[in-house]
């Protein structure tokens, strides 16, 4: 029975390796490895754009506001 498990693990190793090689080939073919600026920006959208922090301590509202509207606040009386 031992030979069976060795054979099975060998086949699994080949399978894992070939999926990795295929994934690299696929990502290159689909243009995933081009236009890196777009890739980096893909986690942002209109609702959560670049330049807008998205996490704050609770009950620290003033701080958050200050961060966003620093320019506005200096103008305000």
């Amino acid at each position: 029975m031992e030979w069976f498990f060795y054979a099975l693990t060998f086949v699994m190793a080949l399978g894992i390796t070939s999926t990795a090689v295929y994934a690299l080939y696929w990502s290159s073919k689909k243009g995933q490895l081009r236009d890196f600026d777009k890739g980096a920006a893909s986690i942002f959208d209109e609702a959560e754009p670049i330049g807008k922090p998205t996490d704050f301590f609770p009950a620290k509202k003033k701080k958050q506001k200050k961060h966003h509207t620093a320019a506005a606040e200096t103008r305000a009386p």
Binding site: F4, G39, E46, P53, Q64, H68, E73
Partner: protein, 502 residues
């Protein structure tokens, strides 16, 4: 509204006038809502296991400098308590948290709602039943005694089925995703979801069900043991850093090119590195040399990732003051760089000669699993939970307590035990001019006691942090959703768009 600046504020973003904005928010909200039930089950069980694991950790740590402690309770002897700790934190806390965070990220990044959430609910139930049976089995004395695979054979098939369900679910979500671009975090998560079942099933077959003979068994054991860290927890941890760091700052990652390079170099080199645990063992020398070479090649992905994380942070350190998530994530990212570089050095034959079989290795394992991975998971949970529950974290002081207690605690742990490990290694190797060993085993053990004691102190600090976290976590679950105006960590859309609240 007199304060309305030119750049959009939170308030401006809520204005119903901005149509595209609301649509995008509604989509995110729908996705977050669909992850809610299974994710909460993953996170609640993770936090409960964290507390259980911490209790076993304190017991085992205390026993090492005061061996009489609970010494007459069979179920809590060191061999069982320590093993229960390892399995509770690895398979209970870390894996539950990792899967929960990973599939929330997958759903968000693929822009796909969770399909067949029932699969995940079933999987999380099965997984936790499996871990519970496994840990009771270990305490009962049924441990297999193979490191990282101690759970008895009557528990492991449940874990495997649960895991397979999660993997199948992730592939479905990915396939139905709307996002054209695959963000680097998705690469890490998808790869990890493929790698873990491979590692786990091969290790189970070749060690437990049809044990390989001789040193092959030890090789499989350490190939598995190290890869659980490198090919399962590390990718999930890095996926989280790559998402939360830029997302919290509102600033894209420093170099996306480097992030892709880091991923593929990790995929190529990490799998080979595990056998460095057997340096000096009765294993063919070429196997060890290959392992050492791979361990040093790991410097490539680590440095690349480190440069990327730290250059993204440069200029934004003030954000650490206002974001709880960022504190944990940055602490984790810095420790990822440190622990990985130390790990590569430890693989060198000359270094291993001194540090192998000492407390240094234990310190290193906690540096990676705790100061890096666990801290990143904490950060991720601080970000995710308000968004799926639409509630604020109840108490900022508890968050600060959690951060400082665990950050200081983990550093005391790592530094204290690392020094202890070096002292231990040097004493064990020390020979007198006539060639005999200078110190007796008892002398070496006695010399390490102060360092073991420092670990218990660190453990108490970490426990305080975990309790603060657990209190805040369950307090939050019992709270009602907050009104829109008092939700600083939430960027909410008009009430009617929030599906998660219903």
């Amino acid at each position: 509204m007199s304060e309305q600046p030119s750049t959009p504020t939170i308030v401006a973003s809520f204005k119903p006038g901005a149509r595209a904005d609301i649509a995008a928010r509604a989509e995110l909200s729908e996705i977050d809502a669909s992850t809610r039930a299974p994710l909460m089950l993953f996170l609640v069980s993770a936090v409960l296991w964290l507390i259980v694991g911490t209790a076993f950790a304190i017991i085992s740590s205390y026993k090492l400098h005061s061996p009489g402690f609970l010494g007459d309770i069979e179920w809590l002897t060191f061999g069982r308590a320590r093993t229960a700790h390892l399995n509770a934190v690895i398979y209970g806390w870390a894996t539950n948290a990792a899967v929960g965070v990973a599939f929330w990220l997958m759903a968000r990044l693929s822009r796909s709602v969770v399909r067949h959430g029932g699969i995940l609910l079933f999987a999380v139930a099965l997984w936790n039943i499996g871990v519970t049976i496994g840990i009771i089995g270990i305490l009962k004395g049924d441990s297999t005694s193979v490191e990282w695979l101690e759970m008895p054979t009557y528990a492991t098939p449940l874990l495997f089925i649960a895991y397979a369900l999660v993997g199948a679910w992730a592939v479905i979500t990915f396939r139905y995703g709307k996002s054209k671009h695959i963000y680097v975090s998705q690469w890490y998560i998808l790869a990890a979801l493929f790698w873990f079942p491979w590692l786990y099933s091969v290790a189970q077959m070749m060690i437990i069900f049809a044990p390989a003979r001789g040193t092959v068994q030890a090789l499989v054991n350490w190939w598995f043991g190290h890869n659980v860290l490198g090919l399962w927890f590390t990718p999930i941890g890095l996926a989280s850093v790559y998402y939360f760091l830029p997302k919290v700052l509102g600033k894209p990652i420093h170099s996306y090119y480097l992030s892709i390079l880091g991923f593929w170099s990790l995929a190529i080199f990490y799998n080979w590195a595990g056998v460095h645990h057997l340096v000096g063992g009765p294993v063919p020398a070429w196997v060890i040399t290959a392992g050492i070479a791979a361990s040093f090649m790991m410097v490539v992905p680590v440095v690349v990732t480190g440069i990327n994380h730290h250059l993204t942070m440069i200029g934004s350190f003030s954000a650490l003051k206002y974001s709880p998530t960022l504190r944990f994530i940055v602490f984790g990212a810095v420790n990822y760089t440190l622990t990985s570089l130390i790990g590569s050095l430890m693989a060198a034959r000359s270094v291993s000669e001194t540090l192998h079989f000492t407390h240094f290795v234990v310190a290193h394992a906690h540096h990676g699993m705790y100061a890096f991975f666990t801290m990143v998971m904490f950060g991720a949970i601080y970000y995710i939970l308000p968004r799926i529950l639409l509630r604020e974290w109840p108490n900022a002081t508890l968050i600060r307590t959690h951060f400082w207690a665990t950050a200081v605690g983990s550093m005391v742990y790592v530094v204290g035990l690392s020094i202890g490990g070096v002292v231990q290694g040097l004493m064990m190797n020390h020979t007198s001019p006539d060639g005999s060993v200078t110190y007796t085993v008892l002398q070496v053990v006695e010399a390490t006691i102060p360092y073991l004691f420092s670990r218990s102190v660190a453990g108490i600090l970490i426990t305080v942090g975990h309790l603060a976290f657990a209190v805040n976590f369950f307090w939050m679950l019992s709270k009602k959703p907050v009104s829109q105006s008092s939700a600083p960590t939430l960027f909410r859309n008009p009430e009617e768009m929030e599906l998660a609240a219903k």
